[in-house]
């Protein structure tokens, strides 16, 4: 048994591989090479082979990778082969949109509870879920065995919610609020920062378009 440190960059690519492999599987394609994957996903084939090789020898030399086998392996690596319960806090437009997003189901991840700080929203229904007040958070996380929290509250409330999630025993947080959050060791935070993505996009407009990465300054 060997022990590796797997870099974050590698782990972040695995869901990209998984998603495309699922498409291939649905199209009835049985085998894929790192070459094929690289072309479709805009990545270097050597990088893909190296990423996968951290976890085992999943391919066959001269042949490529069996699509369904690789799907199974990646799902196992990412721990998507067992159900993962998710709680969401913040039932604004974005929070409600995510609750309606149905993709979680097919990956064994599922939003099982929804909370809002606004007591007036208590009892409101979103899909099959009923909005609960924040003071229930800790109990519900324990009872329903929730391990991931999603934050879709305004920026100024996000750190408080992150703290409440951490205290309640959640192990991962997906933050949509446009603010850098902190969590204690043992709680991992991923940040979906679409406002930053949009603002940084502005940099590449106009005069930077001819040459993708050159900026001119005095």
């Amino acid at each position: 048994m060997k022990s590796f440190k797997i870099s974050e960059a590698v782990i972040r690519r695995l869901p990209i591989y998984l998603r495309f492999l699922n498409d291939l599987s649905l199209s009835g394609i049985q085998t894929v090479s790192s070459q094929d994957l690289g072309e479709k996903l805009d990545l270097n084939p050597a990088q893909i082979r190296k990423d996968l090789a951290y976890f085992g020898e999943f391919g066959r030399k001269g042949v490529g990778y069996n699509v369904d086998y690789l799907i199974e392996k990646i799902r196992h690596i990412l721990k998507l082969d067992k159900p993962l319960n998710v709680a969401l806090v913040g039932t604004g437009n974005l929070g409600r949109a995510l609750c309606n997003y149905n993709m979680y189901l097919k990956d064994n991840m599922k939003i099982v509870a929804v909370f809002d700080a606004d007591e007036a929203k208590r009892g409101t229904r979103i899909n099959h879920l009923t909005v609960q007040p924040m003071r229930e958070l800790k109990d519900v996380v324990k009872t329903l065995d929730i391990s991931v929290g999603i934050i879709t509250v305004p920026a100024q409330e996000a750190q408080t919610v992150a703290d409440q999630f951490s205290a309640s025993g959640v192990k991962g947080i997906l933050n949509f609020a446009p603010v850098v959050l902190r969590a204690p060791a043992g709680v991992r935070i991923h940040h979906v920062d679409f406002t930053a993505e949009l603002l940084s996009l502005a940099y590449y407009m106009d005069d930077h378009t001819e040459d993708k990465s050159e900026g001119v300054f005095e």
Copy 2:
């Protein structure tokens, strides 16, 4: 006049700096050091100084950075000092949530047109905007001088929409669909991949919590 290649990593941090500086400015704080910024944003102070130094000498030795001056500079670097018009395609839950998101205004970026492939949705109102059919896209992009497109359609339609955006003269695309998109040179694509963020979060659950970056495999 010098010419630099500014790395993507640097550009992606600028909006993070900008956001926090705006908070400081609103709190009436006039001066900030790279030390302060680093602590709050969880970044190395040397990295922050280096990032800023690519674009000029914005700080004062022994003192730090003037908050409002730095805001002005970063806004200029990111080209947020002139208005940028944005079009959105796909009026599902997520698309409507983004239209209602009001932050664009204060950064001179504004969604000025909304489209949907479903002709039945034509004329539907979202806030002050009226949903238009896709065949109007090219004309509207030209007429309203739109330079950025947001994609919030299902994965299987996203590449088609990206192609239509590119053909219409848009220079940047923010894609929310869970699929890798391609665009011709001169059109930059940023990807907001929250499904991938969520799936990769699963990897860090349980046994990985003691040591943040160690994975154990046979």
